[in-house]
């Protein structure tokens, strides 16, 4: 096979998956090869402490479609995914977990959706094989919340099996734990999203890297995503909502202080000072955010404010 551009790139972050990784490779080949013989499989070894990398290295010596990326150390799932996305060469990118809970047999259906014209095809797990109270219930709550806050109601944000149009996903900034919010973070790019039901299997190898505590994290992450979405759309308006409330409260307290009797006057004056200080703080925060946006824009390599003449 020549080194022409692959039809699809499949990205798999792996951390301590020595039990599952060879089987995953076999299943990907068996299920993807019939439809897309010219695929590439990028496995990112996120600093595994077990034999994951050695197994992958052996496999990569036999199949040139397999690309193994070894991280210098353990960076986490989002950087692993970001590395895979950066290195992918296909026009359509598919992500899935290495633990075999996702079924590679669903990849062609997701890719077909993107080929239909959607920018993102997001899998949702049918008959999810996880514990109800520790995994499924928090997931249901989190998905509803994410849908409400971001305005992109996806049934299963936690399902890693997704397919993306390359030019869309490569523009999405990925850092920290943002891999959970890729569809939401794609909103500023004006994406079209399709949902596809996918199979889900019980975990056979290794241990889950998630737990109940993630609800707390997801909640605050969501707040951050909301802010970033607002920031992307209207950078100077990040704190405008809070500012409006605070300013109205200050005005109300000032009027109340001026019109009330002597006893109430002290209370309302104090409240006016407190809410006034909050108003000043929010204005300051908004200005700082605006300055940061300006700095980021001028630093960005693809937003030059000049052009070079021939």
């Amino acid at each position: 096979m020549g080194h022409r551009r692959p039809d699809i790139s499949i990205i798999v972050p792996a951390y301590n998956e020595e039990g599952a990784i060879a089987l995953l490779y076999e299943q990907v080949v068996a299920n993807v090869e019939p439809d897309f013989p010219n695929f590439e499989l990028i496995v990112v070894d996120d600093g595994s402490k077990d034999r994951t990398f050695e197994i992958l290295e052996e496999l990569a010596q036999k199949d040139e479609r397999l690309v193994v990326v070894k991280f210098l150390r353990n960076f986490g799932q989002t950087p692993s995914m970001a590395a895979g996305i950066d290195l992918a060469r296909g026009p359509i990118l598919v992500t899935l977990d290495a633990d075999l809970q996702n079924d590679p047999a669903d990849i062609p259906a997701l890719v077909a959706k993107v080929k239909e014209g959607y920018d993102l095809a997001v899998g949702y797990r049918i008959r999810r094989q996880d514990k109800f109270f520790t995994r499924k219930l928090p997931s249901i709550i989190a998905n509803r919340l994410i849908g409400k806050v971001t305005g992109l109601p996806i049934r299963d944000n936690g399902c890693s099996l997704k397919a993306y149009r390359a030019e869309v996903i490569k523009r999405v900034p990925l850092y920290s734990d943002m891999h959970r919010f890729i569809p939401s973070m794609s909103i500023p790019s004006g994406v079209s999203v399709a949902e596809v039901g996918v199979r889900h299997h019980a975990r056979q190898f290794g241990e889950s890297k998630y737990g109940l505590f993630r609800i707390y994290r997801v909640f605050f992450d969501l707040l951050a995503v909301r802010l970033i979405l607002t920031f992307s759309a209207r950078p100077l308006a990040c704190f405008s909502g809070l500012f409006a409330i605070s300013f109205a409260a200050t005005a109300g307290f000032v009027i109340a202080a001026l019109t009330s009797n002597a006893d109430s006057n002290v209370v309302f004056s104090t409240l006016a000072v407190l809410s006034g200080s909050l108003t000043v703080f929010l204005v300051s925060a908004g200005v700082i955010v605006g300055l940061m946006q300006d700095g980021a824009r001028t630093r960005a390599p693809d937003t030059r404010q000049y052009s070079v003449a021939d």
């Binding site: 690309v67 193994v68 970033i228």
Partner: protein, 342 residues
């Protein structure tokens, strides 16, 4: 995160006479961040030359000291010392050892960095032990043989705090003998932390860090160590440790930290204010003579401010991260030659 792993302390026995084979493919920079503590520069450097003879010839020795360091190093050179390149770096006394370490690391060019104290030169056995101990590790730190013998409340508190915050214990963070990859040193020191905490940062970031026993007399603390028995020093070290923990844990997601503080404050304020407003609406009380109302609103204001700081932090992280890579690739394995060379 590799925090649950037990501290690895390698045995002092079976140190091989590996000679130059220990350093066949990697260059070494020796960093002396406390060169000012060295009384006789020539003797110090000659001791290292003799100790490293047959083991490794460093690319350079970076000597950081106060004013006059250049002259001291020039005198050593004039005296015929031409074993390897000597790089003098002068810094103000106020900058301290932490800044000196950072400066030295910024100048280092070797693949590996050997950090040593300026007070007393290490022996051949120590150098060899560190080089041999590095193996597959990213960083090895010395442990004084008698580190376990000294105890005391303050030391126990420090060890307890490190265990609780970082998930593993280090027997001797105050030992200045360390050997590791330059990238690990520079990445860990870039946070601007106390140089003692470099192993903690490296470990937190997933690098393999190991402890290695070395002779007690070489690892003994210098006269003006942070471990000087004064309560103020210990208090500051503990606060620094706490700050380091917060920064490392929430560096990428500041809102998680600030919301954890701001949300309960905001919630308490809402509860108090809500209770008073409802009581007022039911004609149970007046608001004018209730200082609790001011307290409640103060809590709301404070909560909003703390959360807003977290949001500003998130924007800072977002704007600084969206153009930079958040990972480092060790290598790419592929039969496709285009891929392997990426």
């Amino acid at each position: 995160m590799a925090l649950s792993k037990a501290a690895t302390v390698q045995s002092m026995t079976s140190v091989p006479d590996a000679g130059e084979t220990l350093m066949t493919d990697r260059t070494l920079s020796v960093v002396v961040a406390t060169f000012g503590e060295c009384e006789d520069a020539k003797a110090f450097l000659e001791t290292y030359r003799d100790a490293m003879s047959g083991i490794v010839t460093p690319l350079e020795i970076i000597l950081v000291g106060e004013e006059g360091t250049r002259d001291r190093v020039a005198k050593v050179r004039d005296g015929g010392f031409d074993w390897c390149e000597l790089v003098p770096v002068e810094t103000s006394f106020a900058a301290g050892e932490d800044e000196a370490t950072k400066l030295a690391l910024a100048r280092a060019r070797g693949d590996l960095v050997l950090a040593v104290p300026g007070r007393k030169a290490g022996s051949a056995a120590t150098i060899r032990r560190l080089l041999e101990g590095l193996g597959e590790n990213d960083l090895v730190v010395g442990v004084s043989e008698d580190a376990q013998k000294s105890g005391g409340l303050r030391k126990n508190v420090l060890h307890w705090a490190i265990r609780k915050m970082f998930g593993r214990d280090y027997q001797d963070l105050f030992c200045r003998f360390r050997l590791g990859k330059r990238s690990v040193f520079t990445e860990s020191a870039a946070l601007g932390v106390r140089q003692h905490f470099i192993p903690l940062v490296a470990d937190w970031r997933g690098y393999n860090v190991s402890e290695l026993p070395i002779p007690a007399e070489e690892a003994r603390l210098p006269a003006l160590s942070v471990w000087h028995p004064r309560l103020r020093w210990h208090y500051r070290a503990l606060i620094d440790l706490l700050m380091l923990f917060v920064v490392l844990k929430f560096l990428d997601r500041p809102l998680r930290f600030f919301s954890a503080i701001g949300a309960p404050i905001f919630g308490l304020g809402c509860l108090i204010t809500g209770y008073l407003v409802i009581a007022r609406l039911l004609q149970l009380t007046t608001l004018a003579d209730r200082p609790l109302l001011t307290f409640g609103v103060l809590m709301i204001v404070l909560g909003v401010q703390v959360i807003a700081i977290g949001l500003v932090g998130e924007i800072i992280v977002y704007t600084s991260n969206r153009r930079s890579k958040s990972y480092e690739i060790d290598r790419i394995v592929s039969l496709n030659p285009d891929r392997s060379s990426e």
